[in-house]
Every structure is written in structure tokens, then in C-alpha cells.
């Protein structure tokens, strides 16, 4: 690769370490954030369902 962009992407010859590190970090953190959000939504829906089911009688 040539030019400024190529030079930047080459990371001084360490591209094989730098970019996979970004990839792994994004995959792990993004996956965990997505999982946490799904767990939160599921627990909210379960709670709302129970609250509708056991609504106190007046």
C-alpha cells in the first residue's frame, strides 16, 4: 500500500496486531452491551406481565 492512508493502516508494520485488537475489543464489548440490553428488556417485560397478572383488586 502507498500514500498516507496506506501508511496509517500499516501501523508501522504492526497492523496485524493493532486492528484485530480493535476488532476483538469491539466484538466483546459490543456483544456484552447487546446481551445486557436484551437481559434488561426481558426482565422488564416479565415484570410488567406479572404486574398486570397480579394487579391488586380495589
Amino acid at each position: 500500500m502507498t500514500g498516507d492512508l496506506g501508511n496509517y493502516l500499516a501501523m508501522g508494520g504492526y497492523a496485524a496486531f493493532v486492528w484485530p485488537a480493535y476488532g476483538v475489543a469491539f466484538a466483546v464489548l459490543g456483544g456484552y452491551a447487546w446481551y445486557s440490553w436484551r437481559r434488561y428488556r426481558a426482565s422488564s417485560e416479565a415484570l410488567e406481565k406479572l404486574q398486570r397478572e397480579f394487579r391488586p383488586r380495589r
Binding site: 464489548l29 452491551a33 445486557s36 440490553w37 437481559r39 404486574q51 397480579f54 391488586p56
Partner: protein, 144 residues
């Protein structure tokens, strides 16, 4: 570049101890049938483990091993070139915000689960034996 994967450097070793403390905490919290007892035992271990944090912080000054001495939080200002210091601080703030977000999300999930459990326990059918008991009134759900 340090030119090595692993040495028994003071900083590396003290962080390894922190890692084992963390694994031990996870194992201990999940080791009890009753979640409350696990949480209690885990919080004691967490309090003991906090002792390791200042050791990690000052390990680079107390023991003269491979890791460089303190270069960011030191008297007289950071000794890192701005081209590395600025991204370091930006990323540190980013990770801190991500951590806080996930922590709050996890706490809200936990609260939801606890409320669901309480609702279910409060509305269990009355025991068959003896007089027919009145159905217990579920706790008023808090305003959302």
C-alpha cells in the same frame, strides 16, 4: 516495547493477583444456594481485595522491575508525550462511561428480577390443608 509476553514484573504480578481475586469473587458469590449469603461473603472478599489496589498503584515505584515508574499520575505532571497522553485519557473516559452504563443497566435488571420474584412469592397459591385462606394481597407496585 518490552520485548516479552510475560515476566514476574511487580505490576504484572499484582494485576494477576487482582485477576485471581476477581475470579474468586465470582466463584464465591455463585457458590451459595441462597443469593443473599453469597452476596455477603462476596462483599467481605471485595473489601479484603481492595487492599490490592494501592499495591498495584505503587508497585511500579516500590519495586524496580521491568515496568516504567509512574508516568501519568505523578507529582510534576504527566511524563507522556501528548500524542499518546490525549488518546489514553479519551479512551480511559470512554471505558469508564461504558462501565457505568453497563453497571446501571445490570442493576436495573437485577431490581426487575427481584421484583418479579417478590410478586411471584406473594401470589403463591395458599396451602391446601386447613381453612381456605384469603388470597394474599400483592405488594403495591411502585410508580414507574
Amino acid at each position: 516495547m518490552w520485548g516479552t509476553w510475560w515476566v514476574w514484573d511487580a505490576r504484572l504480578t499484582s494485576v494477576l493477583v487482582l485477576f485471581f481475586l476477581y475470579l474468586g469473587y465470582i466463584a464465591l458469590v455463585n457458590a451459595f444456594d441462597e443469593p443473599g449469603r453469597g452476596a455477603k461473603a462476596g462483599s467481605v472478599l471485595a473489601l479484603v481485595g481492595v487492599v490490592n489496589l494501592p499495591i498495584i498503584k505503587f508497585s511500579v515505584d516500590w519495586w524496580n522491575t521491568l515496568h516504567q515508574p509512574a508516568s501519568v499520575m505523578r507529582l510534576g505532571g504527566p511524563r507522556i508525550d501528548p500524542s499518546m497522553l490525549v488518546p489514553l485519557l479519551v479512551m480511559a473516559v470512554g471505558f469508564l462511561l461504558l462501565f457505568l452504563t453497563l453497571l446501571l443497566l445490570g442493576m436495573r435488571t437485577s431490581l426487575n428480577d427481584r421484583k418479579s420474584l417478590a410478586l411471584r412469592l406473594n401470589n403463591m397459591p395458599a396451602p391446601r390443608r386447613g381453612a381456605e385462606r384469603e388470597r394474599p394481597v400483592p405488594a403495591q407496585s411502585p410508580a414507574r
